[in-house]
Amino acid sequence: MTESQTQTLLRQFETLLLIRACEEQLVELNRQGAPDTCSSIGQEACAVGVIDALEARDRILTNHRSAAHLIARGAEPERIFAEVLGRIDGYCGGRSGTLHIAARELGIVLTSTIVGGELSLAPGVALAQKMGHGDPGAITAVFFGDGAACEGIFHEALNLAALWQLPLLFVCENNQWQAYVHRLETMADAAITAWAEGHGIATQSVDGNDIEAVHSAAKSAVAAIRADGRPQFLELRTYRLRGHSGQDDQAYVNADELRYWRSRDPLLLLRQRLSEAGGLDAHTFAALQHDAHTRIEQAVAFAQASPWPDAASLTEQVYA
């Protein structure tokens, strides 16, 4: 590994730590009575690997499981926590809560928590880019789950993107679960890429817990889209290490499967990789983790101090 590669991985590792700390804190807050959230614990490498392959001019759409995408894109944990807690300083002034956070200043332009909603909206964002709105050469990336791939809108979005040659990167975080249903109860094993390939879209399926694999697949997909303007498809095989949301105890999860994927925790994998390359000793690791936790503690304090939105604003911004 070159020094610069190590530096990149180290920076990415810091982001993974921040996301993990954020998600763990959200679970803890929920345990204390704050609103429920869908954590991306176990899937952090997908978010960071893909978003690091995008540029500031690019646009992103995400869904209910968005904290990792937000943080990978540089969102302030302060404003994420404020949003989840329903406070005025949240990215959406507390209106969204955890489920539909958009942050246009970061290029995270639309978020839908209707499963498949992000897929319905993404071609339009890419169409606007193709028709000259936004920065030249910009593309759109849409994050969605394996569950969303079961919705009919997935098929419609793939067909339109292929047909109209839209600069759109489909990123399926296949975390094996669709709320309380295992993916293999809903589809054949290799179904998702088979469906995408049925639309003639170039497809890659990679280990979503290996950030280098994700990052390099994403980079090549993004380059291809910028070169020919056509959509690309990325399946990231990963795992939802916690329950669907909040305090879900995963009682319905096969213990062996969970054990297997825990051993493949993306943070563990990257830490090993960095250690082996001599880029991360125990001391540095402890320091980085401490930084992440400190940052999150500050964020929570900020959020808890943020005022509630004024009830008088209840019907503002329904209409333009």
């Binding site: 319905s120 071609p123 169409l127 606007a128």
Partner: protein, 336 residues
């Protein structure tokens, strides 16, 4: 002014607005085929035939509207909107609010509905009230060629997502239409095609001419009826309706859609919550039944309010002392 059909007026509105603003684009199943002059002038990037997939047409329009374009989508028939409900109701109607005002969705959705063509309940379903009930959307349904043009232009210029319903039964009716590309009809303002003193008839789309006919007949019998054409169902011109009720004291709402949780329910509620003291008689709803639209001409006609029913409803208020009770409402209407 030029005489033309509603269909022509709508195409003219699209033409003028696409010329005025290059961000406007038209998408739909057959949008380019059916409006070849637009396709020729603005090319395939701005006038797009789409796959037959309403959900993604609507979703794409919503995404594009949030990203600098101003799409008009033609979803053909109102019942097909059921495939586009997530994009329209959950995305266009809610994401501005839920994001704390971060985006706007300037987009127009066209859909035809209404009786007259014997197409039956899966192509003819006046479900505009569903979109009035949902937050964040505007809903228009004009009755004349002129209003169709002027309101479609206003809708395209509006920053809100607009549902624009076209009454199939009026599509080929002619009217005088303004030639001035600058003329629009403001959203949210009702028209009063006939003034009167004794009773207010509120309607929209196909049943506006029905009310005008009823008003003419009522005049023969010494009753002066005011006719209000809502045009815009959301926002509703409550001021216009309340002013009229304040003068007439009597309200009859007439439309083809079911009255149950429909516009007629809303206006009756408006009257009894905000004009109670002015009301001198029960409000009457003369509406389509709580039933799908049957295809048979005989049943289609039986479902659509007719002028005679409106006349009977008015006379049933005792205005000339001739009738009493719920006259004017056929038996099945009693349940709505």
């Amino acid at each position: 002014m030029t005489r033309m059909t509603t269909e022509q007026a709508l195409t003219q509105a699209l033409h003028e607005e696409m010329r005025r603003d290059e961000r406007v684009l038209l998408m739909g199943e057959g949008a380019a085929t059916k409006r070849p002059a637009l396709a020729r002038e603005f090319g395939p990037a701005r006038v797009r035939n789409t796959p037959l997939a309403e959900a993604i047409i609507a979703g794409t329009a919503v995404g594009a509207a949030a990203s600098g374009l101003r799409p008009v989508i033609d979803l053909l028939f109102a019942p097909c909107l059921t495939y586009a409900m997530d994009a329209l109701v959950n995305s266009a109607g809610k994401l501005r609010y839920l994001s704390g005002g971060l985006c706007e969705f300037p987009l127009v959705t066209l859909a035809m509905t209404g009786s007259g063509w014997c197409v039956g309940g899966q192509h003819n379903h006046n479900l505009e009230a569903m979109f009035v009930h949902a937050p964040g959307l505007h809903v228009l349904m004009p009755s004349t060629a002129a209003d169709s043009k002027g309101l479609l232009k206003a809708a395209i210029r509006d920053e809100n997502p607009v549902l624009f319903f076209i009454d199939l039964g009026l599509l080929h009716q002619e009217g005088e239409v303004s030639d001035d590309p600058g003329d629009i009809v403001p959203i949210g303002k009702a028209a009063v095609p006939r003034h009167g003193r004794d009773v207010t008839l509120v309607s929209y789309a196909k049943t506006v001419p029905v009310c005008l006919q009823a008003a003419a007949e009522l005049e023969q019998r010494g009753v002066s009826a005011e006719v209000i054409d809502l045009r815009s169902l959301k926002p509703l011109d409550t001021t216009c309706v309340l002013d009229s009720i304040a003068r007439t004291g009597r309200l009859i709402i007439v439309h083809e859609a079911s009255g149950l949780c429909g516009i007629a329910a809303e206006l009756a509620a408006l009257a009894v919550t905000r004009a109670f003291d002015a009301l001198r008689a029960p409000v009457v709803r003369v509406t389509g039944p709580d039933a799908p639209a049957a295809s048979s001409w005989a049943l289609e006609q039986a479902a659509v309010p007719q002028a005679q029913q409106v006349v009977d409803a008015v006379l049933g208020l005792g205005l000339t002392g001739g009738h009493g009770g719920a006259a004017g409402e056929p038996a099945w209407r009693a349940r709505a």
